[in-house]
Structures are given as structure tokens and as C-alpha cells.
């Protein structure tokens, strides 16, 4: 009897599973996910207290607007119009009527509540899967009321991470060169703002020329180049304390200092005896090390996120192309072979792609290629644009574009733009003045 049973288990059950019909789903749509961002609710008392303190009528709604705007700019989400919402925000936060939200085609719902306890702002939010009818994320943040914009960004980061599977890039800042005045007598200041264009602060006075600010991927430090008495000088700036430090004077043409992934070194190119090569400087002992040694012009170095490789551009083949080498300067390999000139290579924080600027037939392109040079994709083209910088999750690039101020081709303006890896979601980044040379910070909170 046991043998018969064993026979049944061993043979009949597997046969049944083999008979299971399988259908391969290899395609889907890339339409933005419809999301309902219900206004964050607050009690009447909290509302009055916050209005007194921050001069904002309904702080909850303002935080929701930040979340909504952030999600919209990704191109991956479609925040639904608030007018279509059937359920009140405070009740939805307790227990949403999923049928109401699925009626307006929402697939995800964000609800929240804001409170003021002992002068501390407490914002609670929940993320709901409307189709599955369940809660998938719930978090609360406590901070000082002045920090309310950051709360909106952190909520977006958490929602983004839960729905896409990768870290967000909203609680970040962008440092750039703010420009004013005519092209011949341009005033250039170092400026920093939130990634959505708010909270702009100017870090230098504008009496010296500043160029190529770059964030340290490990913390909130910035390195930049400034001309002092016509001599290029590399500075370090701590954003949190405001303390500036001169790293060193570098004679001749110095370009684009950039941090190593651990933030302990700076890599840059400068010309010595008329030949431009790549050098690193240890920030602790200030020892300068020559990485490339070639009669050609080697510039724009950028480390891979693991610090093992460096990408740079060089004209050693006759035209400016992109190269990859080991971080000690060995095993130099050309990776770009397309038509045109390639420059400003920047390694993605994900490590899988290298962004670059390409000049071909009088037009500038921002593109990406894999680290072996294959799979080149040009994301955007224009008459003058360059200096791509990656968002900390490696999904979006920010760069600057120079255009004429009006339709007649008069004047000149420089603006910041962002584009995602699909190449479809290109957006103007709002800045108070003209702007160039942007650099994206890492996430302020993890």
C-alpha cells in the first residue's frame, strides 16, 4: 500500500505540474502609474498654530503639492487631479474606500496627517495599493516646522523607492554657477538650491570667476575652481559649516576637479610644461600623483563608483574621444568610436553607464553609453549644451544649455535642464538667474 502511495506521489503529482499552461508576458506598457496624492490632513488647531508660525495657510496641502510635483517630474507617475477625489483626506488616511479610488483609475494612493507637538512638526503618511486593497508603506517624520519642504521630498523618496524598486533623488540639492550680466562681463556666483529649484542660496559674492563645482558623493562637501589673480585655484567648501579651504594653486590650464567616490581624493587635469595630463591629490597629505603620461591632451576625469576605474577624454587618437583606465593609470582603453567629438564623460552612480557630451555636425548631444562603449544612446540634442551630472540614483541627468534670449537670435541665456534615461522626459529646471555647470548632491537623508 505504501509503495502505491509513493508511486502516486513520485509520478502523478509531477505530471500534473508539467501540464500547467505557461504564458510568457514579455511586454508591458511604460505609461506613468496613476497615483492619487490626497492632501495631507490636519486638525483646525494645528492649522492655526502652523499658520502663525510659518505663515502658510494649509501646510498639509503644501507638502502634498511638493510630493505631487516631484512625482510628476519623474515622468514615471501620473498624479491625478484633486478635483476628482471622492473621499475626504482625513477619512482616507484612516481607511480608504478603495472602490472610490479605483473608480478614478488610481493604482496607488498617498494619504497623510500633520500634527504640531511641542514645537515639533510630525508628518505621518501611508501608501496604499488600491488594486490589492492594502497598505504597503507607513512612516512618520518628526522635525522642526521650518524643515517642512524637506519632509515633502523625503516622503517622495520613500514612495518612489517602494513603487520603483530604486532609491529616490528628491531630498537632494543642486550646486551650480549662477550667471548674470552680458557675456563679455559676466558675473559668476556659486549657488545652491533644492532639486526642485526652491531655497536658492548664493555661496560666493561674484567678485571672482567660479567654475565647475562638484559635490563629494560621500558627504555635503563641494570642490570648485576659482580664478584668483588669473591663476586657477582649487577650493573645498563645506556646505553645512560654510568653511572654505584652498586646496592648492595649479599653474596653467586646470580643469574640472572632481572627488573620488570615498571623498578622500580629488582628480583633475592640469597642464604642466604645456601638456595636459590627469592628476590626483590626496586631501589628507596633499600629495599630487600623475595618473596619465601622454603627449596628448587628457581632461575631464571621473571615477567609477567603486573607485577602481577612471573615465576621461583624450585626443590621443587624433580626435577627442572617451577612454577608460584603471585608477592607477594602467590599461588605457578607448571606448567611444562614433562619429564626432566626445567629451565630459561622467560615470553613473549605479556604475552601469557613462554620460557624455558629443559634438557632431555643429550640434551638441547629451548621451549615455555602457562602460565598454557599447549601447550608445543620444538622449537630447541642441546647439550648445554640456556638463551632464547624474542624480544620486543614476536615473536622471542634469546639464546646462545655452540659447539665444529671443526669437531674433539676440542675447544669450544659460539654463539648467534635466532628462531621464528614457530620453522622453526633458524638463527645464527653474533657477533665479542664468545657470551653468550643475552638480547633483547625494541624498541628504538615507
Amino acid at each position: 500500500m505504501k509503495k502505491i502511495l509513493l508511486f502516486i506521489i513520485l509520478f502523478i503529482i509531477p505530471l500534473e505540474s508539467f501540464a500547467l499552461i505557461t504564458v510568457d508576458i514579455t511586454r508591458g506598457n511604460l505609461n506613468p502609474l496613476p497615483v492619487a496624492v490626497s492632501p495631507i490632513s490636519s486638525s483646525e488647531k494645528t492649522r492655526i498654530l502652523l499658520e502663525k508660525e510659518l505663515k502658510i495657510e494649509d501646510l498639509g496641502s503644501e507638502i502634498s503639492k511638493i510630493v505631487e510635483n516631484n512625482l510628476k517630474t519623474t515622468g514615471l507617475f501620473n498624479p491625478l487631479n484633486n478635483d476628482a477625489f471622492l473621499q475626504k483626506s482625513d477619512i482616507a488616511h484612516l481607511k480608504p474606500r478603495f472602490e472610490d479610488w479605483s473608480l478614478i483609475k488610481a493604482q496607488a494612493l498617498i494619504t497623510g496627517k500633520v500634527e504640531l507637538n511641542d514645537q515639533k512638526l510630525r508628518v505621518e503618511f501611508r501608501l496604499w495599493d488600491v488594486l490589492a486593497g492594502k497598505e504597503i508603506l507607513a512612516l512618520a517624520f518628526t522635525t522642526v516646522p521650518k524643515n517642512w519642504r524637506r519632509v515633502g521630498h523625503i516622503i517622495t523618496d520613500k514612495v518612489y523607492e517602494r513603487l520603483t524598486g530604486e532609491k529616490g533623488y528628491f531630498d537632494t540639492r543642486i550646486i551650480y554657477v549662477a550667471e548674470e550680466g552680458p557675456k563679455i562681463k559676466r558675473i559668476k556666483k556659486l549657488a545652491i538650491m533644492d532639486q526642485d529649484g526652491f531655497n536658492t542660496k548664493y555661496l560666493t559674492l561674484g567678485n571672482e570667476l567660479v567654475l565647475t563645482p562638484r559635490f563629494n558623493p560621500a558627504n555635503q562637501m563641494v570642490t570648485y575652481l576659482s580664478y584668483f589673480k588669473n591663476l586657477p585655484r582649487v577650493y573645498l567648501l563645506d556646505i553645512e559649516t560654510g568653511i572654505q579651504e584652498v586646496v592648492g594653486d595649479f599653474p596653467g590650464m586646470t580643469f574640472a576637479p572632481r572627488f573620488s567616490p570615498d571623498g578622500k581624493k580629488i582628480i583633475m587635469s592640469f597642464a604642466k610644461d604645456g601638456n595636459s595630463d590627469i592628476y590626483t591629490m590626496d586631501l589628507e597629505n596633499r600629495i599630487v600623483e600623475k595618473i596619465t603620461n601622454h603627449p596628448a591632451i587628457d581632461t575631464s576625469p571621473s571615477y567609477s563608483p567603486d573607485g577602481k576605474y577612471i573615465t576621461f577624454n583624450s585626443d590621443r587618437s587624433g580626435y577627442q574621444q572617451i577612454y577608460v583606465m584603471k585608477s592607477d593609470g594602467s590599461k588605457v582603453r578607448r571606448i567611444s568610436f562614433g562619429k564626432g567629438l566626445y567629451g565630459t564623460p561622467v560615470w553613473s552612480p549605479r556604475g552601469d553607464l557613462i554620460a557624455f557630451t558629443k559634438l557632431h555636425k555643429g550640434k551638441f548631444y547629451i548621451g549615455v553609453m555602457r562602460t565598454d562603449g557599447k549601447g550608445e544612446r543620444l538622449l537630447t540634442e541642441n546647439y550648445y549644451q554640456e556638463a551632464p551630472s547624474w542624480s544620486p540614483n543614476g536615473r536622471v541627468l542634469i546639464f546646462y544649455r545655452e540659447t539665444k534670449s529671443n526669437d531674433k537670435g539676440e542675447g544669450f541665456s544659460a539654463t539648467l535642464w534635466s532628462i531621464d534615461l528614457t530620453g522622453y522626459n526633458e524638463r527645464l529646471v527653474n533657477t533665479e538667474t542664468d545657470a551653468s555647470d550643475p552638480s547633483w548632491s547625494s541624498l541628504l537623508s538615507n
Partner: protein
């Protein structure tokens, strides 16, 4: 003596000038930035996972059915209507099948065993991707064969269909429907295995009774957070699409269905 004092004061004066010029940052005002304030993250547990209201579920199903009715009124699929009267054995089969499902629900132990057996079996498959490919190929071959056979099949041969798969046109209809419902999360890493296999138990009208993610254990593995997102997107697609466009006949052969959602092709594009 007098000369030395003059010399010393001029040198000191020069030094001060050099210092003020070469250290300009000393004269600058401190940067007016708000102090960085740590944000406290609190996991809310007391209110999480509120059970899904059964009433709401019924209303959603009603609304969906109404919407689908409207669609079907606009473009009535003639073939389906014709096939219904031909499928004579179906009404007898349906009550039996429903009973079977109900029996299983009443006995939770049975379900657990079944799920465990299937999952372990599937886990072994997962270790060898070539085997999966071979299995998929096999199913495709079978499907191709049934397609040829289907032109000649009669009602008496319907029992044989239970073992074989869907015809190519049936499979295409189902695929086309799910393609439209599946929003692929774009943040997925494209150098990873992006295959999610979901086993479905369907009702004769194509609505979903039960879904099971076959590689469920992978969700909780470190570094596989994206897999959870991918699996959830696949489940959402099934929810959004149901009732699925299934053939009107041969319920026995497709009542259990496995959908292999693979995002790799789309993301590598």
C-alpha cells in the same frame, strides 16, 4: 636702531596685506544656510495592513463588470457567443469544479501541502535557468502542436485538450490583454533576472480566484528589493485585467495558469 624699527614695521605691514589678499575667505560672511536637522523616521505598526473591506471588494467587482459589459456591448465578440451552445459538457463540469475549490478552502492543511510541494518543486527549477527555458520551449512546442490539432478537434476530443496548452490565438489574446495592463516599473536593474512567475487559479469566466508568486522566497533576499516591486506590478496587472480573456471552452485545461512576467526584454529594449 631707528632703521630696524621702520624695516620691521614695513615687513609686518606687507605681511598683513599679503595675508588679507591671499586669504579672501576670511573676510566673507558665513554662508546663511539653515542648520541641518535630522529627520526622525518612525515605522507605524499599530494601524498597518487594515483588512480589505469585503463590501468594497464586491462593489469594485460590480463596477468592473459593468464597465466590461459596456465594452463588450460596443464590440461583441461573435465567436464566443457561437461557441457557447457548442460547449455542451461545460455546465456539468462547472459545479463540480467550484465544489472542488470550495472543498480545498475548507481544508487549509491540504492547501498548505499543495503549495509547499509546488514551491519546492519550482525552487529546484529556479537553480537551472536552462531548464526553465527548456520547459518554456516545450510548452511552446506543445502549443504549436495543439494549434495544428485544434483545426481538427471535435467535442469528443475535448478531453485530450485538457493535457495540452492554449492555442496560439488563445495565447495571443491573453498576452495582448495583459500587455495593456502591465505597467513595468522603470527603476529595475537590467542586469538582473527579471522573471516573475505567478500561478493563477481561474474561474470559468476568467476572473481570478487565487494568485501565488512561485519564487516568493526571493522577495526577502538581500539585494532583491526590486523583485518585490516587480512582483507587485505583475499582480496589479492581473487585478487590473481580470476577468482574463480565456477561451470559452476547455475550462479544465486553463483553470490553473502560469504567467511568466519578464521585464528584461522591455528594459533592455
Amino acid at each position: 636702531m631707528y632703521k630696524n624699527i621702520i624695516l620691521s614695521s614695513t615687513v609686518h605691514f606687507l605681511l598683513i596685506i599679503i595675508a588679507t589678499l591671499s586669504l579672501p575667505f576670511l573676510a566673507k560672511k558665513p554662508i546663511d544656510l539653515p542648520p541641518v536637522i535630522s529627520v526622525e523616521l518612525i515605522q507605524i505598526t499599530e494601524k498597518t495592513n487594515i483588512p480589505f473591506a469585503p463590501k468594497a471588494k464586491k462593489i469594485i467587482e460590480k463596477v468592473k463588470k459593468e464597465q466590461e459589459k459596456l465594452v463588450s456591448e460596443q464590440a461583441p465578440p461573435k465567436k464566443i457567443k457561437k461557441e457557447k451552445p457548442d460547449s455542451v459538457p461545460m455546465p456539468d463540469e462547472k459545479p463540480e469544479l467550484i465544489k472542488k475549490i470550495e472543498d480545498k478552502k475548507q481544508n487549509p492543511e491540504k492547501i498548505d501541502n499543495e503549495v509547499k510541494q509546488v514551491s519546492e518543486f519550482e525552487k529546484k527549477e529556479m537553480f537551472d535557468p536552462n531548464t526553465i527555458a527548456a520547459l518554456i520551449d516545450k510548452s511552446k512546442e506543445e502549443m504549436a502542436e495543439t494549434n495544428i490539432k485544434s483545426s481538427k478537434t471535435t467535442q469528443s476530443q475535448d478531453k485530450n485538450m485538457d493535457i495540452s496548452g492554449l492555442t496560439l490565438s488563445e495565447e495571443d489574446a491573453l498576452k495582448a490583454q495583459i500587455f495593456g495592463c502591465w505597467s513595468i516599473p522603470l527603476g529595475l536593474p537590467y542586469n538582473e533576472n527579471l522573471l516573475v512567475r505567478i500561478k493563477l487559479r481561474l474561474k470559468p469566466d476568467g476572473s481570478v480566484v487565487k494568485t501565488e508568486i512561485l519564487d516568493h522566497a526571493r522577495m526577502n533576499k538581500p539585494g532583491q528589493g526590486f523583485y518585490k516591486v516587480l512582483a507587485e506590478s505583475a499582480l496589479r496587472a492581473i487585478q487590473l485585467c481580470q476577468p482574463l480573456r480565456v477561451p470559452t471552452t476547455g475550462y479544465e485545461r486553463w483553470k490553473d495558469l502560469q504567467l511568466n512576467f519578464d521585464a528584461k526584454e522591455m528594459l533592455e529594449g
